[in-house]
């Protein structure tokens, strides 16, 4: 694989606007960055796809193991909410989407850095914006990206009622854009999709209701479970009939305690890095990550510390595998999973070794293997 520098299309901002990509720039800085792109080989894409499906299999096995052995403490999940997580797992409530963040250098096996299993973003740009880029910049090439089609196909498999609500908090254009995109895919799948902000959700004494006092039977929330459960209405979730997407069992996978659990269950697996709930056990330099942190906050790596509000639930220490640095940029490979299956790739770059909310999205393409 290689990183290619190229001139951005003169009208890329106008194209972004027409697609409804309202956060191509974030806080005045470019977020969508087509001054560079990544070229992969078909074999490398196959390797990423295979590793993603394998890690998904391991993660679900680990979740089942956690349920069977009540490992809520290892995952940093309070005992009081564990029954909700267990019930969700026992019912096998379907998952819509997730994103693995992988270290990949094209030479060795992809390594799991973390699993964004609850509220991953960077989906619209991976599914739609970089595909539009491909069709105009490399129209004869291909892209590891069947995200849009997979999302539309996934909604019916969730077996939800016709009306599905969508929610996120206010004041984040990126969150709202992601939710609106997912709502669009649900509508294309035949659902009635209705949006309301998270603080607008009502409780009528026995049910969660929307602004028209209709029952919220199913809701996609871009709002993590650990926040939902801490909120004032959190205690009402278990007694209500509402279906939540992602389901509560995803809390097990979104905890970075999963990294330590995976390593304990599958030591020396080629797609895993050594990780423990205590420091100093990996036998190498380590990165310290909060169990329920987001966007690279509150991490400590050799020579690098990020600040932020997370960490009260505890930490995990993972062997530090520095991201490959090319052109002065560190790239992390975000491998998307839709309904349990690998379906696409989004690459983000940063000038530091930790990917943060300010890291830029860079498109990719690959040349399909020629038929002989």
């Amino acid at each position: 694989m290689r990183r290619i520098m190229r001139n951005p299309r003169a009208d890329y901002r106008e194209r972004a606007r027409r697609m409804g990509f309202s956060f191509a720039d974030i806080a005045g800085e470019p977020y969508w960055d087509e001054t560079a792109c990544w070229q992969l080989s078909a074999a490398e894409v196959d390797g990423l796809e295979e590793a993603t499906n394998e890690i998904e299999r391991l993660a679900r096995e680990a979740a089942d193991h956690a349920v069977r052995n009540s490992l809520h403490a290892e995952l940093g999940i309070p005992q009081s909410v564990w029954p909700l997580v267990v019930a969700s797992w026992e019912k096998q409530e379907p998952s819509l989407y997730g994103r693995l963040d992988l270290r990949f250098d094209g030479a060795s096996a992809p390594l799991l850095l973390e699993y964004n299993a609850d509220t991953p973003t960077a989906l619209f740009e991976a599914a739609v914006v970089q595909w539009e880029w491909l069709t105009t910049v490399y129209p004869k090439s291909d892209q590891f990206n069947s995200l849009h089609e997979a999302l539309i196909a996934a909604w019916p498999t969730l077996k939800l009622p016709h009306r599905v609500h969508f929610t996120c908090q206010r004041d984040s254009e990126e969150d709202r854009g992601t939710v609106d995109y997912l709502r669009d895919t649900a509508i294309q799948a035949g659902h009635a999709g209705e949006f309301l902000y998270i603080d607008e959700i009502g409780w009528d004494g026995s049910r969660f209701v929307d602004l028209s006092t209709r029952e919220i039977s199913a809701i996609f929330k871009l709002y993590p479970w650990e926040w939902l459960l801490r909120d004032n209405f959190g205690g009402k979730i278990a007694g209500a009939a509402t279906r939540w997407i992602e389901p509560a069992w995803r809390l097990m996978l979104s905890s970075k305690g999963l990294l330590a659990l995976l390593w304990r269950l599958f030591p020396d697996h080629p797609n895993l890095l050594p990780a423990f709930r205590e420091p100093g056990r990996t036998g190498a330099p380590e990165i310290k990550k909060p169990l329920f942190g987001r966007e690279g906050a509150n991490m400590t790596a050799p020579g690098l510390t990020t600040d932020g509000p997370y960490g009260e639930e505890g930490f995990v220490w993972q062997r530090f595998a520095e991201l490959p640095q090319v052109g002065g940029q560190y790239a992390v490979f975000g491998s998307w999973i839709i309904a349990g299956v690998a379906h696409g790739l989004g690459i983000r770059e940063d000038r530091t070794a930790i990917t943060r909310d300010s890291s830029r999205f860079v498109p990719h393409f690959f040349e399909p293997e020629t038929q002989s």
Partner: protein, 94 residues
């Protein structure tokens, strides 16, 4: 502690009613306080919550008013119970 978000005030039929959410919370607080102080009528205070008397008295008056008007009583709706934790963070995405 009773948070503002838990006190849902709804205007119905010209009257102002606190929601069940608030009353259940308030009743639990009163019961706990009565037991902590070992008040002679502590069990009556706690039982009044389980029978729903304080909440029920509000609902009864609302129900009567509704009956007179001939319309079905609408349940009170509390809002703002989600989002409090997230308000401290810029984005919920990862």
């Amino acid at each position: 502690m009773i948070r503002a978000a838990q006190i849902a005030l709804v205007v119905m039929g010209g009257g102002l009613f606190m929601s069940a959410v608030y009353h259940q919370h308030e009743q639990a607080r009163r019961c706990a306080e009565a037991r902590r102080q070992n008040l002679p009528d502590r069990e009556e205070i706690c039982a009044s919550g389980s029978s729903g008397s304080s909440w029920h008295s509000h609902f009864s008056s609302f129900g009567s008013a509704s009956s007179r008007s001939g319309s079905a009583p609408a349940p009170s709706v509390a809002r703002g119970g989600f989002g409090g934790t997230g308000a401290h963070f810029a984005s919920a995405g990862g």
